[in-house]
Amino acid sequence: MTAVISHWSQENQSAAKSILDRYPEKRSALMPLLYVASLEHEYASDDAMREVASLTGISAAQVLSVASFYTMFKAVPVGRYLISVCTSVVCYLNNADEVLEAVEGTTGVDSGGITHDGAISVERVECIGACGGAPAVQVNYETVEGLTREKAEALVNWLRDAKPPVVLADEMQQLFGGQRSFDWGPMDPDGAVRPIPAFGPYGSVEEGR
């Protein structure tokens, strides 16, 4: 196994190993490993999928089949910040289309695109479970709720100018958010550094200030 991913960072290698240990069957580790591979290879590239195939003992075609089923494993390079704008029904009722317009307008890219400098990707997504704070967006899968056209523009500009090293939901909410789905409670110190969910055992988690 290590022979295959020996070029991966030490961190990602040990993440891969611990993920495989978490499951009774190797193939179950497929999706978690795709996140790790996407960290290592920037996105779910062919090379990333080949590595995951050899780690789980299935064919590359099987990995592709699974990876392409889900929306969060990206087949093309994604910017450092991935802005996912929900335009499902409840956000739609609360003017999500304006938020999307604002994000597309400010970044200059359409949904599915990436800015020239490769810094920001924009996508239109279906419901992200923030309907109580509609319209909502996620940046690197960290949620901001209660946006407006203006706040969305400000959020994009902030990402572009301030280049936050860690994307923190609470920080974004404080700066740009409004109505929330529920009381979030205390600040969450953890955030995402890459467009991959910030989840400890695997993913792009890092503690912010």
């Binding site: 978490r22 499951y23 009774p24 069957e25 193939r27 179950s28 580790a29 497929l30 999706m31 978690p32 795709l34 996140y35 789980t56 299935i58 089949s65 699974v66 990876a67 089923f69 889900y70 929306t71 969060m72 494993f73 996912s84 335009t87 499902s88 029904v89 409840v90 739609y92 009722l93 609360n94 279906e126 419901c127 992200i128 479970g129 923030a130 309907c131 109580g132 509609a134 996620q138 899968y141 960290e142 949620t143 939901a169 109505q179 789905s181 529920f182 009381d183 979030w184 409670g185 205390p186 969450d188 953890d190 969910p197 910030a198 989840f199 400890g200 055992p201 695997y202 993913g203 988690v205």
Partner: protein, 430 residues
């Protein structure tokens, strides 16, 4: 009488309800200790049966009855469904982020009752924060001996694994979820066999929703009968309702069922903003057929009453629409959602949902034709013959038929509006 079970702690201690210390301070893990020290697995199952609690994930299947189906083979698994992706639903997110130990204690008690030694929590990929909170709680609880090996000096051991999804609503369907957890495409399986007989890795598996499991500590502590005594007979217990859309006070509310929709929308939810009137609402998430004020406002919020009125309470997502709402556009958004989320294995769902999306889009863009209404209904009928609810299906799972709900709803309640839009567009188009 108790009227809140799940949200008591987070309401009282918003600053730290997710921590182990607060959880222990407020009676946490006492139910687990009681279960391990004083109760046999069978007794717990009996209490859950007696509670009459119906699964909160949408289908409303009695939890105790499902547990009773678990086949004897070893190993067995418990899988907690935290894939919550249905538009309008966000209450599992709150339960996971704000009181993860309550969920874990429920998992530990349930696993003990079911003879499970490895439980999984499948969290949708977009809920990274919920996953972090749960993982932190697992680490704390393991450290403190509430999870892991020989829990509380008993000979019961339990490992809990958080599994992050990859972005696919269909993985909320329990068998699609199991496929996904096995590292496969999230395609629902043919049933039978049901998961309780052949689930994860073809072993007996119970799949329950986050909210369902979060109720288990309370039931263990206070007894099934006490739970059953809350609310209407066949809608026992409290229910988390997510209220959103055009509403003054969007949010999650833990309610006792039995009130009217008027109470729920206007009292609990604070009514419609800007003094506008209510045009329609979805009583149970994007899948559910819509309700309208003239007919349904004074009907009862309960699983059976809503079913009797041809819809469902589902996972408890209420979406309100005010008088200005373009219902065709809303229907289009919902159909688009299901088309996007269709796993694609069934022909009627894969082709039918996209077809309906295209027709609705064409109507919205001014290209509607008179025959489109019949066409939409006939496509719907080919996905869900008879257009009733709960739906008859030509598909494997109810996702396809769910896409039919908004179409039948607008043709049923707002046909003149739809016709006018088509007529206007015919004029406009020329």
């Amino acid at each position: 009488m108790t009227d809140k079970i799940l949200t008591v702690r987070m309401d009282a201690y918003p600053a730290d309800s997710q921590t182990l210390s607060r959880y222990l301070d407020t009676g946490g893990y006492e139910a687990l200790t009681k279960a391990l020290d004083q109760m046999s697995p069978e007794e717990i199952i009996e209490e859950v049966k007696a509670s009459n609690m119906r699964g909160r994930g949408g289908a409303g299947f009695p939890m105790g009855v499902k547990w009773g189906f678990l086949a004897p083979a070893e190993p067995r698994y418990l899988v907690v469904n935290c894939d919550e992706s249905e538009p309008g639903t966000f209450n599992d997110r709150q339960l996971a982020e704000r009181d993860p130990h309550q969920l874990l204690e429920g998992i530990a008690i349930s696993s003990y009752a079911l003879g499970v030694h490895h439980a999984f929590i499948y969290v949708r990929g977009e809920y990274a924060k919920a996953a972090r909170r749960i993982q932190n709680a697992i680490d704390e609880a393991t450290e403190a001996g509430y999870l892991g090996k020989d829990i509380r000096d008993s000979d019961f051991s339990l490992e809990v694994t958080v599994h992050l999804g990859g972005g696919a609503y269909i993985c909320g369907e329990e068998t699609a979820l199991l496929n996904s957890l096995e590292g496969r495409r999230g395609e629902p399986r043919l049933k039978p066999p049901f998961p309780a007989v052949e689930g994860l890795y073809a072993q007996p598996t119970i799949v329950n929703n986050v909210e369902s499991i979060s109720n288990v500590p309370w039931i263990t502590m206070h007894g099934g009968a006490a739970y059953a005594a809350i609310g209407p007979e066949r809608s026992a217990g409290t229910k988390m309702m997510s209220i959103s859309g055009h509403i003054n006070k969007p949010g999650n509310y833990e309610i006792v069922m039995g009130m009217t929709w008027r109470d729920l929308i206007f009292d609990v939810g604070g009514g419609i903003p800007d003094g506008k009137s209510l045009k329609a609402w979805i009583p149970g998430g994007a899948s559910a057929p819509w309700f309208v004020p003239d007919v349904h406002l004074d009907t009862i919020v309960s699983i059976d009453d809503v079913a009797a009125n041809g819809s469902m309470i589902g996972a408890g997502a209420v979406v309100t629409m005010d008088e200005t709402t373009n219902v065709v556009a809303v229907a289009h958004r919902i159909v688009r959602f299901f088309a996007h989320e269709s796993c694609g294995q069934c022909t009627p769902c894969r082709e039918g949902t996209s077809w309906m999306e295209a027709v609705l889009e064409r109507i919205l863009q001014g290209g509607g034709r008179t025959e489109d209404i019949d066409l939409l209904l006939d496509i719907s009928d080919n996905i869900s013959p008879g257009l009733a609810w709960p739906p008859a299906m030509t598909t494997i799972c109810p996702l396809g038929p769910s896409a039919v709900s908004p179409v039948t709803s607008i043709t049923r309640w707002f046909r003149p509006e739809l016709e006018a839009m088509i007529a206007g567009s015919e004029v406009a188009v020329g």
